[in-house]
Symmetry: none
DNA sequence: TATGAATGAGAGTTCATTCAT
DNA sequence: CATGAATGAACTCTCATTCAT
């Protein structure tokens, strides 16, 4: 099902994170044993401990890296556009959808296994998560305030948009016919409809 | 954190399912030990096995019951309305949102732990799940076909609506200010916007 | 595989010993759970404890009863014959073979599960067992002393005869063609050959 | 009662099989817990699982190895002699008796715990067992056919001989006065008497 | 008589992890 | 860099048994 190929010299670290990524995604954090990961990576248990301090370490690694990337993508996307709410909303939709399809596995792990982060790590990452959340709120609120968006319940509009974008990871098939830019456009359209913005 | 009250004689079965419900929701299926459940239920480990055949049994029980209820609610809701697509869509939104908030815990467990159902049970329940999914598809497709809905990508519209409704379970607070009928109205409005239907 | 028929009133006790007999024979003492027995008897666990004090009780019952019967049979057989060693040997062979085929199951249990008797019970039954053993020794020794049997190693002759007779329980099929009297005659012949007695 | 000496590093495997051997022999398969085995081996429970896949594995190991050895011994013994039935019978008696006393413990386990082999393993080993059984049958039948043996019921003769030889494991004391070659001679004599062969 | 409910101890097995080499 | 050997705690589940009714 995976990397049965011999691990290239020095490639141990990568092989392990890759194996952890797949295992956590398929069976969940608690459903995955550290032996599953080692086996999948084609390495010994001890090799795993040579590179990582433990199972939790692997989870943090995967979630932290991909969550940080999401945040960077969001900020980058917003940097590139003006202050028009619709434009900004579309930028955020694009960043989210692209992230969700390009980092399908990690983003799903992040969503499902967040609660299994050790408190110390969760606390730290909660900050990032909320920052990203605030970006959406600011944009929607601003759009409503300036009359670009017409929605009676901006909070719900925001939640609906985010939920719709996130759900993409659950069904999108990178090998299928639908190209990412088209996907982005579709969900931009949906987002604008939800806030009844200009189309 | 829970049922510290002594379990009345013969009340074991309920105490256990209740405890399982809470534990699975908080820590996930694999993250919950049956000792956790027994402790939470205020019973011995063996009592748990007196009432149930095992951990899997408890999971199936919770998921099956609530999934079946969801399906019943959907059909009931559609039975009560005519064949107008918008009306039918609103009925389904109402059934879904009401289910998601009234069975918040079980529905979340169902979503998160579906993969942990033993193959035999999953196979059986997959049927129910798909049937419910079809209800959405039929309505959206019909609305589009008859010109009541204007959306270029009905599949995505459907997914967005479902995702938005489902997400309600993650944040809605039954003890808060927002009443369920209002909640239903808000998400009905959002759904109609997504399909660009009559409002 | 067994008594699925409803248990006749008051027949509880018998149903249970019968079920224990079968279960111990098929799966051994430790391999049999008391629930197996109750299920096989078509009774509740509690009914079992109503009639017996526990699992050990059932084992003792079966072994003791059948061991005592064997001893009685042996003594009875010897009572009926004179003091000719060959005659006496044949009587003992007959008693043993008849016992082994008529109480096939219990005698096998006795042989296999003797070590699982609680020390108190084992001590008591060891006496019976040895008494029976002595009967063989006396006869063989007497036969040798009086010149009726010609064997250099009477101990081994005795062991060989006993082993051969006992083994009958492992293969004899009561429903088969071979009648018990014929069987007895065959093993009588074998026994006489082993001690090189008159034939 | 056993190996109290600290287990030398890397000597785990042997210590465990030795402990299993003793425990199974003394208390039976079901009567032995793997904790018993680990304790007796002077190792932790987990060490046991490091070397073996489970309790069944240990049973198979012991039975398979010793059953195979018995078969090898039989064939070896027959290879070394001509086609005279009496000679061949004596060879088989020797192989059996020697095996039974040199592998007293394992051979007893094999006899008592055969039914506890998982079906897959039992099926495989049943083959070996039957092959060994056929060796006896062929010899006795041949002896009768050629007039070297005079017995009316060769099947029973064969069973009696085998039972007598096997029983040796139950009482023979390697530390006692009786040397194995003498023992072999005694049972050879008994076997020849049973078939009424040339002495 | 007979039952259903409940239990504490222990079953076999797997867990994440450590350590000497 | 990497391994094989070993561990203690925890896992799911079954055991023989008891007790209130």
């Amino acid at each position: 099902m995976s990397t049965a190929a011999p691990v290239p010299r020095g490639g141990g670290r990568d092989a392990i994170t890759r194996a952890a990524r797949e295992s956590f995604a398929e069976q969940g954090y608690h459903g995955t044993s550290i032996r599953d990961i080692a086996r999948r990576a084609g390495l010994s248990l001890s090799a795993l401990y040579h590179w990582h301090t433990g199972k939790q370490d692997l989870l943090v690694l995967l979630i932290e890296e991909s969550t940080a990337e999401y945040f960077r993508r969001c900020e980058g996307a917003l940097d590139g556009v003006g202050d028009d709410p619709a434009e900004r909303l579309l930028a955020l939709v694009r960043a989210t959808v692209e992230y969700r399809v390009s980092r399908r596995v990690e983003s799903t792990i992040a969503a499902a296994e967040w609660r299994n982060l050790a408190p110390e790590h969760r606390a730290r990452l909660d900050g990032l998560r909320e920052s990203a959340g605030r970006l959406w709120t600011e944009i929607v609120d601003d759009g409503v305030a300036r009359g670009h968006f017409r929605c009676a319940h901006p909070e719900d509009a925001r939640r609906a948009i985010v939920a719709a974008c996130n759900a993409v990871a659950q069904w999108y098939d990178p090998a299928g016919d639908l190209a990412v830019p088209d996907l982005v456009e579709r969900y931009g359209e949906i987002a604008l409809r939800i806030v009844d913005g200009p189309r």
